[in-house]
């Protein structure tokens, strides 16, 4: 469909209004059906058997005693799982998955925890007991799970250029002020409370799959290809998701185990991934080393940026974290070079974790900026203001809407930054604790992808809006309802939002923070089409007061059809439909995305500033993030309430990234050893700072008519750097190897004990 020039919508009674979630009551009363809640007559349970080596081949699988255990229906291995195929190359947002090898494809083991068999039984306990009774023997070969990445052999044999301008080497060599350091971030595991799960129903050659998916349409395409059936034989449903953080964007091997088992047994199968398996075979943010070199003149003007990163990936798949995504446009700088490298390790395939690339990338870049500011003796806010670019210097495009300077100045004002004494350890709070104040800038991509939406106006007076996107806990149900409420004038209670089903008109993935922005044009267009049909019907229906009027004379306002500008004499649309004996009128909106379009006129990005305060008690080595001020420039907020919630959650996750989270591999076995929620430490309530969120209200009408971008990820970008910069300000210690741990700080001045 032809791309329309958007008409900016500046006024709305519902868009931009803080709105409680329309699905809130379902969730708080336990009636929302999450994937693993689905149950069917005859349903049986699957429990995988996981490899206890990280590299080698299976020499034997003895399932004889497991098969005889009570309730056991089958044990599937690479010998009898039946056909499973690899996917053809991906195109657009279809056929994407990170671990491309179907489970149980052969006897080769490439990472600890890889599925080597699956047990099916009548109860989950029976299945688990049987899985544990399957005896697998291996021929082990040496494995590598080392987290030393930089300067180890990369897949390509050399580093790949990501962005380049000027002569970075020369500028670095000649500059008066330089900074050069390596920043390391560990493997991080997504730990949504809802475990990955699949409930697979197989009937008459067709699969209905209840999945934990952030992208039902892609999930359908992948599953169909891997199961070897036409896409119309697969339906993927995710009505509610107990969060994903990117870990549930693409299908993982367990989904194939469940579907293949359902097919083989011709009965419904439920597979819920165990918590320890969540650390093995459903992705993670990879371990990354990043070397950042900066050069500046005495005034603080950047002369060169070089950013080289290396991330680990698995033995079969090439996952690139993309850490240098923002390096090219963040600051004005004549000489920029960024490179990437991938190294193979015997680990499960990494995947997107909230803010992939930018989050670790900005941790490195924004830490380096802080270190440079210290060397230059320039205030770190000033250093950033000084290097604000006029345009995207990596592409030459103008920014569609960039207000980073205002984020920094507003944030500084709200935080009280002017009172900052830059001397390390010089500031105290009322209780005598040392304070550290740090700042970081942040950014995240803004874009739109293809979307199709259907809006139906029904005889019962309600509107139904349908789209094959999904709500991953971010508030998509509500945002979509707000868009349709805006366009139809109907109250939210009379709008049914139907999403989370691959059978619906194809909608965007819930990733990249672009689901909302993508749905906007299609939803508005669909509502307009439905309205046109309604008005047309009004002019053609016997007994309707508008019969034989021209459509141009009519309008549809607050759910009522009337003569333009006449507040009386209107007829509720439900009555018109009744009179006409038409059950519903509907319209479909279809918009083409901007993602990857080489002819884009603008550089679309959101921006923000993160200010963090830590309190530091050297006498007990206790560090606490006490306060965070975040200012975000992400276009117009459709629902400021849900948006604030996204930023707050991201800040808390940032506290985890900065101070707590790391997946630890036992390098002898190659397996993650802290694979439980008790041992993999995430932030709890007591770790949460006071969080002050401000949204700058600059609608980005170049992106869509409502000017909405997205806020799912940007809140996590920069926060780790703001915290570690604050840690340095408090303690004098620069931790370049996350997370910041007690042992890193024991050597701080003030800790005299050895």
């Amino acid at each position: 469909m032809e791309q329309q020039t958007p008409q900016p919508i500046t006024e709305s009674k519902i868009v931009g209004v803080p709105t409680p979630r329309i699905d809130g009551p379902l969730k708080t009363t336990g009636t929302a059906m999450y994937s693993s809640d689905h149950h069917f007559p005859g349903l049986v349970y699957a429990w995988p058997v996981t490899a206890t080596i990280a590299s080698g081949t299976i020499s034997g699988i003895d399932s004889s005693s497991a098969e005889k255990m009570p309730g056991v229906l089958a044990i599937y291995t690479h010998k009898n799982i039946g056909p499973l195929y690899r996917t053809p190359p991906s195109a657009g947002f279809s056929m994407i998955l990170d671990e491309r090898r179907p489970p149980l494809e052969d006897e080769i083991v490439r990472y600890y925890g890889q599925y080597v068999a699956v047990a099916i039984a009548h109860t989950v306990e029976q299945a688990r007991a049987a899985a544990e009774a399957v005896k697998v023997t291996y021929n082990k070969t040496p494995h590598d799970t080392s987290d030393k990445l930089l300067d180890t052999p990369t897949i390509a044999g050399k580093l790949k250029e990501v962005t380049k301008r000027g002569d970075t080497a020369a500028a670095l060599a000649g500059a008066a002020y330089k900074h050069d350091a390596v920043y390391s971030t560990p493997t991080e595991t997504h730990n949504p409370i809802e475990l990955h799960a699949s409930v697979a129903v197989y009937k008459d050659g067709k699969f209905t799959l209840y999945e934990t998916s952030q992208a039902v349409v892609n999930h359908r395409d992948v599953m169909a290809a891997m199961l070897g059936v036409p896409p119309e034989n697969v339906q993927v449903i995710t009505r509610f998701l107990g969060s994903g953080f990117g870990g549930k964007l693409w299908p993982w091997p367990h989904a194939l185990l469940a579907a293949a088992s359902a097919r083989n047994l011709n009965r419904p199968v439920k597979l819920v991934v165990g918590r320890s398996m969540m650390f093995q075979s459903v992705g993670h943010r990879p371990a990354i080393d990043q070397r950042v070199q900066l050069a500046a003149d005495k005034s603080g003007k950047l002369l060169a940026i070089q950013h080289d990163y290396v991330n680990h990936t698995s033995m079969l798949d090439d996952y690139d974290e993309g850490c240098a995504e923002s390096t090219g446009f963040m600051y004005s700088c004549p000489n920029v070079l960024a490179t990437s490298g991938l190294v193979r390790r015997n680990v499960g395939t990494p995947t997107s974790m909230r803010g992939p690339g930018a989050v670790p990338g900005l941790y490195a870049l924004e830490s380096a900026m802080d270190e440079l500011a210290t060397k230059l003796n320039i205030d770190p806010v000033q250093l950033r203001l000084l290097n604000e670019p006029e345009k995207d210097e990596s592409t030459g495009q103008p920014f569609s809407s960039r207000h980073l300077k205002e984020c920094l100045t507003v944030g500084a004002e709200k935080f009280g930054w002017a009172k900052r004494n830059p001397a390390v350890g010089s500031m105290k709070d009322a209780e005598g604790r040392t304070l550290g104040w740090g700042v970081a800038a942040c950014t995240w991509i803004a874009t739109r992808t293809d979307a199709e939406v259907n809006v139906e106006l029904r005889q019962d007076g309600a509107a139904r809006v349908a789209c094959g996107t999904q709500d991953i806990g971010t508030g998509t149900y509500t945002a979509v309802a707000q868009m349709v409420a805006h366009e139809t004038g109907l109250p939210l209670q009379r709008i049914d939002v139907v999403i989370g089903d691959s059978g619906l008109p194809p909608g965007p993935i819930s990733g990249g923070s672009w689901a909302t922005a993508s749905v906007v044009p299609a939803a508005l267009q669909a509502a307009q089409q439905a309205r046109k049909q309604l008005l047309s019907l009004s002019t053609k229906t016997d007994g309707c007061p508008f019969k034989d009027k021209s459509v141009d004379e009519l309008e549809f306002v607050d759910g009522v059809v009337r003569i333009k500008g006449q507040s009386s004499g209107g007829v509720p649309f439900a009555e018109i439909l009744k009179t006409a004996n038409v059950r519903s009128v509907s319209g479909t909106g279809k918009s083409t995305g901007l993602f990857g379009d080489p002819n884009q006129k603008f550089s679309f990005h959101s921006f923000g500033a993160q200010f963090a305060e830590v309190t530091w008690q050297p006498e007990i080595a206790r560090l606490h993030v006490s306060r965070v001020v975040t200012v975000i420039d992400a276009g117009r907020m459709i629902n400021p309430r849900a948006a604030r919630n996204q930023i707050e959650g991201a800040v808390v996750m940032g506290v985890g990234m900065a101070m707590l989270e790391a997946t630890e591999y036992d390098h002898r076995s190659g397996g993650p050893i802290n694979a439980s929620l008790a041992d993999y430490i995430v932030a709890v309530n007591a770790d949460c700072p006071n969080i002050d969120v401000t949204f700058l209200d600059y609608p980005d009408f170049n992106l869509n008519p409502l000017g909405a971008r997205g806020v799912g990820e940007i809140g996590l970008a920069g926060i780790a750097a703001a915290i570690t910069n604050a840690v340095h300000h408090a303690t004098g210690i620069r931790v370049r190897n996350l997370p910041v741990r007690i042992e890193d700080l024991l050597v701080a001045p003030g800790n005299k004990t050895s």
């Binding site: 306990e125 544990e132 101070m659 050893i673 430490i681 007690i742 024991l746 004990t753």
Partner: protein
């Protein structure tokens, strides 16, 4: 988890009689009592504990009481929930270190279930002990080796370790009981007996699978805390996150300051030892001294002199010292 039989008993005698059938009350026990179940069930799910018979002691009357005894001691029933014990008026008034220790542990939900006896017998959090995929664990399988040495051991013990096991004793409550000189009351097949808490826990040595003084059939019925003169008390716990986590180092202290001198000093630490760790060296260094940083530092140095760290947990030595010094400073100023 393996299949097991569950018997609900109404008297201590019945409990003891059934449990007497187990060949050991230590690792490998075939009969286990179940109290709150917060620790035992975890390990049963992991097949680390494989009792064939569970004896539910929750219906035994009178084991959930906190009572002042005529001699001034406090009697705490085996089934008193950790959350109730933390709020018991007698505990708050006379043994605040115990209340603080309890409240620093686990989460509110867990404390509502966890019991006095279950907490005394909670097992280590060593990840290799919990994971059958690792064959090497002397505590789980005597003679198999120790995967933690040479593996991931950041939160393992530095005191009381052996070449066979470096697992940390994870309890907070028990550290407080150490400085309160708690006495554990046991009913066994041969009758009742008492075990001072200082003699209750065994060092791992070459037999890390033997953790305490209990014999087959032994049921902990209650714990008594001797009457205390008026003292200052504190429990200080240091850890990675602010709540809901085991200690990296914790200190329990009971003391008096009389005429500017430290008296009746008792110090124990958690998170650092293979058992809740009483520190007589520190007590000796402090007793009779005037409080001050130098004295506190000397006590901390003395207490950690015998520490034997491995690569990743060496930081616990300075951390433990900070913890003790801070606890001493705070409590003397209180």
């Amino acid at each position: 988890m393996i299949d097991f039989e569950l018997t609900r008993v109404g008297t201590p005698d019945a409990a003891v009689q059934i449990a007497a059938a187990t060949p050991t009350a230590q690792q490998g026990a075939t009969v286990r009592f179940i109290a709150g179940g917060t620790n035992l069930i975890d390990y049963m799910k992991l097949d680390v504990e494989t009792p064939q018979h569970l004896v539910d002691i929750n219906r035994i009357p009178d084991l959930a009481k906190v009572e002042k005894q005529p001699d001034g001691s406090l009697k705490i029933g085996a089934l008193v929930r950790n959350s109730d014990l933390a709020q018991a008026p007698e505990v708050l008034a006379e043994y605040p270190v115990l209340s603080q220790a309890l409240l620093s542990g686990a989460s509110a939900q867990l404390r509502n279930k966890a019991t006095t006896s279950g907490n005394l017998l909670q097992r280590t959090r060593c990840p290799y002990f919990r994971d059958l995929a690792y064959a090497e664990c002397n505590k789980r399988t005597p003679g198999s080796g120790c995967a933690a040495i040479g593996g991931y051991h950041r939160n393992h013990a530095i005191l009381g370790v052996s070449d066979q096991c470096i697992a940390t004793h994870a309890s907070d409550m028990d550290v407080a009981l150490m400085v309160l000189d708690a006495v554990i009351h046991v009913q066994g097949i041969k009758g009742n007996r008492t075990i001072p808490i200082g003699e209750f826990y065994k060092l791992p040595g070459t037999t890390p699978h033997i953790e305490n003084a209990l014999e087959p059939g032994d049921l902990i019925t209650h714990v008594t805390l001797p009457a205390l003169p008026e003292t200052k008390q504190i429990y200080l716990k240091l850890r990675d996150r602010a709540s809901y986590e085991f200690a990296l180092a914790s200190a329990a202290i009971v003391m008096q300051v009389q005429g500017g001198r430290l008296r009746h000093v008792r110090v124990a630490m958690g998170g650092v030892g293979t058992r809740p760790w009483r520190m007589p060296e520190a007590e000796h260094a402090l007793e009779g001294q005037a409080p001050g940083e130098g004295v506190f530092r000397a006590a901390a140095d003395a207490a950690l002199k015998t520490a034997r760290p491995h690569t990743d947990n060496a930081f616990k030595i300075p951390l433990a010292k900070l913890c003790m010094i801070r606890a001493l400073t705070t409590v003397t100023n209180a």
